[in-house]
């Protein structure tokens, strides 16, 4: 007990690297502004809020870029509990840009419904702020708080279309399951703290191993913590909330959940695996293997059954999550760690661009058809060729067809599996290969509607796409093509993303 006193006596205000925190601070400032401005402006001028939000996100990119270019590669605060390293910068920019696109997607959408706009932007930005925090958090408390930080606003956003029972249902399910998962995760975290006597991931990493006196409780802790994030990335069998929530939530929110929120889950998962459990790979590798295989397969086969486009995309994104998990299943093996990390980061980047594009199209099309049925896409190409082509590009990218972004993401994932030269790796690669074929079944089905089927209601008036959606489409389509044709660009960032203090073999 001695040292506690000493610690208490020596308390000094922690030094804070404000430059390192600048992105978060900018965003925090921005969301306060949104909240305040919302109070004082006229209902007709509420569109200003979306402008402020989008500029806030872009403004937050500035310090991110500056940090990326600065000499100091790793900035560590609070005894290493909050670390700004290249990995966090890369994923922060991913969050910010994805958030920007979500703002673009939302701005026209929320004008239409009876939304609480000011609060919508506020919650969206809050959730993003939580994600930024997640990217840098390196201890259990920070990670837990960050997780709730990004989740709680998201629970509410899912229910934001207040008069739509589906939206309510989406919110409740998301909330309930989210709380269940974080409860399980917390139990695991408590055990970790117990055996490591620290909440710092690096300390835990040094202790938590698959062997030794405490191996059983290590295993329990690792499994429980992973379950918490498996929920977040909607890995099967923790995926059950995702289809319902995606379907019921307002579409821009769905886009946000399926991209940013999911990415945040992966970020935390990766950080934990690489810094907190590097010695326990015997525990988590099989778990991730099973999760990955199940996720791909179940997501795919269920997606085949869907006739609602959003629900289908929900299952599709579950299945895509399986592909992201794929490299992690061998990440603990010698020589695979860094390629697996690269694969995960690249997959997240590419997936974000592509999936946001899909949602942009869904928003644009549903503006006209007022339907979520896949069959409402019939003949899209004949009356809205640009949207048709873009949707095709996005879906093909999700299916992993060169030269669109998705292929390089899948490729790198496969690469890291095979690089492990382990039988488990090969086996999972085969499962992935088969699944990437099955996936085309439902992506192709939508393409078929777009190109080969007649217009269901015969209404062939063209779709007028709002400017913000156009911008979103341009960004996402451009990125999808860019990553595919010049994969080096995406890979460069993915390769940059090294986690400080990560132990890889």
């Amino acid at each position: 007990m001695q040292h506690l006193n000493i610690l208490a006596a020596q308390w000094v205000a922690p030094t804070i690297d404000y430059f390192g925190l600048a992105p978060e601070l900018v965003l925090a400032g921005g969301l306060c502004i949104v909240l305040l401005v919302d109070l004082f402006i006229d209902e007709r001028k509420k569109w200003l809020l979306s402008v402020i939000s989008s500029f806030t996100l872009l403004a937050a990119m500035v310090p991110v870029l500056m940090l990326g270019l600065s000499e100091t590669s790793v900035r560590s605060m609070f005894d290493g509990r909050y670390v700004v390293d290249n990995f966090s910068l890369v994923v922060k920019s991913l969050f910010l840009l994805a958030g920007y696109v979500v703002v673009l997607l939302s701005s026209s959408h929320i004008e239409q419904g009876e939304y609480w706009r000011g609060e919508y932007w506020f919650l969206l930005l809050t959730s993003l702020l939580g994600m930024l925090m997640m990217a840098s958090s390196r201890d259990l408390v920070s990670i837990f708080v960050a997780l709730e930080f990004l989740s709680i606003p998201a629970y509410m956003l899912a229910a934001w279309r207040k008069r739509d029972p589906k939206s309510n249902e989406a919110g409740v399910k998301y909330f309930m399951l989210g709380v269940f998962a974080s409860a399980v995760m917390l139990y695991g975290m408590s055990l970790m703290y117990g055996v490591a006597n620290s909440t710092l991931l690096t300390d835990i990493g040094a202790k938590v191993a698959a062997t030794g006196e405490f191996s059983a409780v290590h295993a329990l802790a690792v499994v429980f913590v992973i379950v918490g994030f498996a929920f977040k990335v909607s890995a099967v069998p923790f995926h059950t909330w995702a289809p319902d929530t995606y379907e019921g939530a307002p579409t821009p929110v769905t886009a946000f959940l399926s991209v940013a929120s999911k990415a945040a889950g992966f970020v935390a998962l990766v950080v934990l695996l690489y810094t907190a459990f590097p010695l326990a790979q015997d525990v988590w590798q099989p778990l991730i293997w099973v999760l990955s295989a199940l996720t791909m397969t179940v997501g795919n086969v269920l997606a085949l059954k869907q006739h609602n486009i959003v629900r289908m995309i929900a299952y599709s994104s579950i299945s895509q999550g399986g592909f992201v998990l794929m490299p992690l299943a061998v990440a603990g093996l010698v020589g695979s760690g860094s390629t697996a990390l690269r694969a995960v980061v690249l997959y997240m980047i590419v997936y974000a661009a592509t999936n946001l594009g899909v949602f942009a199209i869904i928003l644009a099309v549903s503006n006209k058809t007022r339907s979520g049925e896949i069959s409402s896409y019939g003949g899209l190409f004949s009356y809205a060729p640009t949207l048709g082509v873009l949707m095709t590009i996005f879906l093909a990218s999700l299916a992993g067809i060169p030269p669109l972004g998705g292929w390089i993401a899948k490729f790198v994932a496969f690469q890291s599996l095979i690089q492990s030269q382990s039988n488990w790796g090969y086996a999972l690669a085969l499962v992935g290969a088969v699944n990437s074929v099955i996936a085309f079944g439902y992506y192709g089905n939508v393409m078929r509607e777009i190109w080969m089927r007649p217009v269901p209601d015969g209404d062939v008036t063209t779709i007028s796409v709002p400017g913000s959606l156009r911008l979103a489409l341009a960004i996402t389509a451009g990125a999808t093509l860019l990553f595919g044709v010049l994969p080096g660009v995406g890979l460069h960032f993915a390769d940059l993303a090294e986690i400080a203090g990560a132990i890889t073999r």
């Binding site: 004949s382 060729p385 030269p403 490729f411 030269q421 690669a429 990437s436």
Partner: protein
């Protein structure tokens, strides 16, 4: 392997020029059909011009070397580079793809299939061209894979949008099948990469180092590639997508599918699978040869059972590609030469047959053989062209088909060292039997369609006298080069062999001559 690097911009320009055309097309207003056609035509002419200039600059005395090699950074992180080049094996196929695309574009000028949409149609054709040309010039596995896959989507849409009754089913089937193959192929590529020390995806590098992989590993890697390529070829028993795809595809799609796309698979065998994994190739060769001759007979039997002209031609592709695969499976440079020749010849001939089938469909509104007949009386020119192609297809000496078929059979008599001679000789006899069946189904078809008298036209409501016009100008322009090609290559096979031979010999040097 030494490479020649002069003029290394040529291939990139030739490959990506069509994409430029696509961009221009995209920016054009939808309504201007004529302008769309002009752009497509000009693009494909320009592409071919670049291709011809490439051939002109090609050093035929060093056909075994990669030429116009460009090696640029592409995905340095995974050690894949933009490495392109052509040698004697690639060049003919590279040019063939350009020629076929141009001819298809010309043919399409007045034959845009239902439901129209020329802008999209031509754009897809041009994308397809980039993919095909790119596959033949890529010297890096990843680049190869990208181009190999690039052709999938355009073809999917060509079949699915502009195809026949069952087009949606056929297109999905085509796509899933090929994707399945290429997924496994990709896994095999990756395994190859790591087993050779994870140094490079460059094909020349892998050829140098692939042989050192342990044999049983090689066999597994080869298995992955085999599935990928065999689906594309298609070899028995992976062929069932082909008849549906061909039958349902629009004429242009069938032509490109038959003329170029099927070659991607066989090309893959020659370019990648054999030289990189010689030990596995030796182990696999008898099985490949066996499947090839099964394909020959099976395809022929399939043909005999058909009542639909296009489907028959499609099945004949299975048989013909069987000859090609037989040649490849001998692992001798003679056999592979024959296979390469067979690929080009099959491209010209079967492409032409599909053109004819398209024109028949357009005029008679049916492809049921039993409803056709007397073509030689109603449309003598079309009938004779059809006859010419049927003859070429059945391997008549003096026409291009023969030089693919006969040497392939010949080569099976004496396969490479280490292969079981008896087995291959049995293959040879079976393959020779296949030539008879080929004569059977092709001439039978010709007899039923071209000979006899015209069938009652009431079966297809239109007045036949107006519909049944003979070969049109656009058709002439599109077909003449193919017909000439069939004839010229038949009389002067050395035009092609002299280019192929050094490269094939160099490629197969791993098998010890």
């Amino acid at each position: 392997m030494n490479m020649l690097q002069e003029n290394n911009w040529l291939l990139s320009v030739g490959t990506f020029l069509p994409m430029f055309g696509v961009v221009v097309l995209m920016l054009m207003p939808k309504a201007q059909d004529q302008a769309v056609k002009n752009v497509a035509l000009i693009t494909s002419i320009a592409t071919l011009a670049v291709g011809i200039y490439t051939a002109f600059k090609f050093d035929f005395d060093q056909a075994e070397k990669l030429q116009f090699v460009a090696d640029a950074q592409w995905i340095s992180v995974i050690k894949s580079s933009y490495l392109i080049g052509v040698d004697g094996i690639s060049l003919p196929l590279y040019l063939l793809s350009m020629i076929i695309t141009l001819l298809v574009v010309i043919y399409s000028l007045d034959h845009v299939p239902n439901p129209g949409k020329p802008k999209a149609f031509f754009a897809l054709l041009l994308v397809l061209q980039t993919g095909m040309a790119g596959t033949f010039i890529a010297q890096d596995l990843i680049l190869f894979f990208v181009f190999f896959e690039l052709v999938l989507l355009p073809m999917f849409f060509l079949i699915g949008v502009w195809g026949g009754e069952q087009r949606q089913y056929a297109s999905i089937k085509f796509f899933l099948y090929t994707m399945f193959g290429s997924a496994l192929m990709l896994v095999a590529f990756l395994a190859l990469f790591f087993k050779t020390g994870a140094e490079s995806f460059s094909i020349p590098y892998l050829i140098e180092n692939g042989g050192s992989i342990a044999k049983n590993v090689q066999i597994w890697i080869f298995a992955g590639m085999f599935v990928g390529f065999a689906v594309k070829v298609p070899m028995f028993p992976f062929h069932t997508w082909l008849p549906d795809a061909h039958t349902q595809a629009p004429t242009q799609g069938s032509v490109i599918l038959a003329a170029i796309l099927l070659k991607l698979g066989t090309y893959g065998f020659v370019r990648i699978a054999l030289p990189v994994l010689p030990d596995a190739a030796r182990e696999w060769a008898p099985y490949i040869g066996g499947l090839a001759v099964i394909g020959i007979i099976y395809g022929a039997l399939g043909c005999l059972a058909q009542t639909d002209m296009k489907r028959l031609i499609a099945f004949s592709s299975v048989a013909h590609m069987g000859f090609v695969m037989l040649g490849i499976s001998t692992l001798t440079s003679f056999g592979v030469n024959a296979a390469m020749f067979g690929m080009v010849a099959h491209g010209l001939i079967t492409g032409m047959l599909f053109f004819i089938a398209g024109s028949v469909k357009e005029r008679y509104h049916t492809l049921e053989i039993s409803k056709l007949g007397g073509m030689l009386t109603t449309m003598p020119r079309l009938g004779w062209i059809f006859g010419f192609c049927a003859m070429a297809s059945l391997g008549l000496p003096g026409l291009a088909g023969f030089w693919g078929e006969f040497p392939a059979i010949l080569s099976a008599y004496n396969p490479a060292e280490g292969l079981n001679q008896t087995v291959f000789r049995v293959f040879m006899v079976i393959a020779a039997l296949g030539t008879v069946l080929a004569a059977g189904y092709l001439l039978w078809m010709f007899q039923r369609i071209a000979f006899g008298t015209a069938k009652d036209s009431s079966s297809h409501g239109h007045s036949s006298s107006d519909e049944l016009h003979d070969v049109t100008t656009f058709e002439w322009i599109a077909w003449t080069p193919l017909l000439l090609g069939i004839l010229v290559l038949g009389i002067l096979p050395n035009l092609l062999f002299s280019v192929l031979d050094p490269a094939v010999q160099a490629t197969l040097s791993v098998f010890g001559g």
